[in-house]
């Protein structure tokens, strides 16, 4: 809390609150005044927190335009030269390759996670069979455990399969570790879907597989969306699994680091003496696609993430 009280002094509650509300459907009465005291109070805290989020991010992106000396001189230095060469250095230090590796892995791991997770969740949610509860709890239990616990044996397991530092190895591991949560989310979602449609399809003679792909999956779209987003964020942010599994095996083995892992290794290689602007530029490059996707889909991101949790 110490941090926020200090920043109160700095940021000040007087920041003008953003006026246009993108989703203000309730404000049909026009611009009626709110109780002034309460208004200042709530807006003050809200604006302060918004500032605490935006300001450091803008500040560090600015750092990509500064020189090393400007960064080290003062927190308030202003870039003297708005050149993009730090971005080029960051890209060449590997950010471009890391980005590509991440995209390749996730292009496979996300759809497969969704497909396998939905299949398991559907069967567990809608079919009675011996061992159903056992398999369900077996999956759910996995969501509770820290990944660390499995790290050491997992390394040797992937090694034995000959998949260290390969895309397919990381893809399979990502799927396996995303399954518990995916199954848990989708299980509750499939349970809430009405049974009538399902029964009608059965009467019409549709096969189980067909019912799943043509009826239940489309009906579960909101649930799939929310878990999909959750998994995209989770796998995008994943650090410890690639750190363990995507190490170069020999000198000629290509560097297949994913983005988070690569950025941290750039960071650790340099310390204060290194090329901080390039690091900040690399970080900005890594942040931009996320920002664009987030701003374009923020409504789906937020409603998706929360919808299934509340079921």
């Amino acid at each position: 809390m110490a941090l926020s009280t200090r920043e109160t002094a700095e940021g000040g509650p007087a920041q003008p609150a953003p006026r246009r509300s993108p989703d203000g459907p309730r404000r049909t009465r026009g611009e009626q005044p709110e109780a002034p005291g309460l208004n200042v109070f709530s807006h003050g805290f809200l604006a302060l927190w918004a500032l605490m989020i935006v300001f450091p991010l803008v500040w560090i992106v600015l750092g990509a335009f500064k020189t090393d000396r400007e960064i080290g001189a003062s927190a308030w230095s202003v870039p003297s030269n708005w050149a993009l060469d730090a971005f080029q250095r960051g890209w060449e230090k590997g950010v471009g390759d890391y980005l590509l590796n991440t995209v390749i892995v996730m292009a496979f791991s996300i759809p497969l996670t969704m497909l396998l997770g939905a299949m398991a969740a559907y069967v567990l949610a809608r079919y009675e069979f011996p061992g159903n509860r056992f398999v369900y709890y077996f999956f759910v239990a996995g969501a509770m455990f820290p990944v660390f616990l499995a790290l050491v044996p997992l390394y040797f397991m992937v090694d034995r399969l000959g998949m260290l530092n390969t895309y397919q190895g990381l893809i399979l591991v990502y799927i396996a570790y995303s399954l518990p949560f995916t199954v848990f989310f989708l299980h509750s979602f499939f349970r809430t879907l009405p049974t009538a449609v399902h029964e009608a399809a059965v009467i019409d003679g549709a096969s189980h597989t067909r019912i799943f792909f043509q009826i239940m999956l489309p009906m579960a779209k909101p649930g799939l969306l929310s878990v999909g987003i959750f998994n995209i964020l989770g796998q995008w942010n994943q650090y410890i699994l690639p750190l363990t599994l995507m190490q170069q095996q020999t000198g000629t083995d290509p560097d297949r680091s994913v983005l988070a892992q690569g950025l941290v290794s750039i960071m650790q290689q340099q310390g204060y003496a290194g090329d901080l602007p390039a690091l900040y530029a690399g970080m900005t490059i890594a942040m931009l696609p996320v920002l664009v996707v987030y701003l374009s889909f923020q409504r789906q991101v937020q409603s998706g993430l929360t919808a299934a949790t509340l079921k």
């Binding site: 920043e7 509300s21 203000g24 807006h43 080290g72 820290p146 050491v152 992937v158």
Partner: protein
Amino acid sequence: MRQGKYPFILGFLVAPVGLYLVFVIWPYLQTIGYSFTDWSGQTQTFDFVGLDNYTRLFGDEVFHNALRNNLQFLVFVPVLTILLALFFAFMLNVGGRGGGGVQPVRGAGLYRIVFFFPQVLSIAILAILFQAVYRSDGAGLLNGILIAVGLGDPASPVEWLNSPDLVRWCLIMVLVWSGVGFYMVLFSAAMQSIPRDVFEAALLDGASRTQTFFRVTLPLLWDTVQTAWVFLAILAMDAFLLVSTLTPGQYGGGPDHNSEVLATYLMRNFNVFGQAGYACAIGVVMLVLTLLISVITLRATRRDRIEF
């Protein structure tokens, strides 16, 4: 309908369950097995040593330290995040009053977008960002702010991450900073599913905002708060990347083990000290703790579900 049911079930379960067994469950079980051995991690030979690793943990000062720090994280990260998130969610949704009803404050949508954003950032980005924010000279953002407002001394700036007292709070603040938005959106969605009449009835009955919050909102949100607590506790248990990248020392944990958490101590034992068996024992302790927290949270805070 009956025929083909079991082949179908089996067909749908075999791939997910198989993957899950090979890459998740089996390694977990192996960890438990290794925790009873003196395996170094470098060779494939080891001896069974019974409970030696666990008895050693009892006398290990660094382990005690890590456990204490983890407990501090486990208490403060969920408490601060949930309190702030609830407060902001409440402000956003029913903070605006007047005009004869309860309504979201102006700009609620924009606040939501901004607050949520840290959640979509990779933890690596957070590490880079906060290393700059907590920089120990005057060029760090936090020191820069302190100096600018006259609270900091440019000659002796605060060494945030090198200070034995501050380092844990610095890390807790990073976790809270990045988590509040997500839980705010979560609580906010839960609040929107509460019928507006409930709030307006409270308003008509003359309830203040504080009363509305504690007597109406919070009880109706209890399930969501509970879920949030469990997720946050798991997050706080595993602060590995932040600690290992932000704090001094190999795999972090410095200064002098003041920010050591179980995860960093585990990794150091495995990768640096060559004590994989001992590392596995630490892993088992983490597992037991996580399970305990989940069970306690879900049991102790259970209340009757309120339907509306």
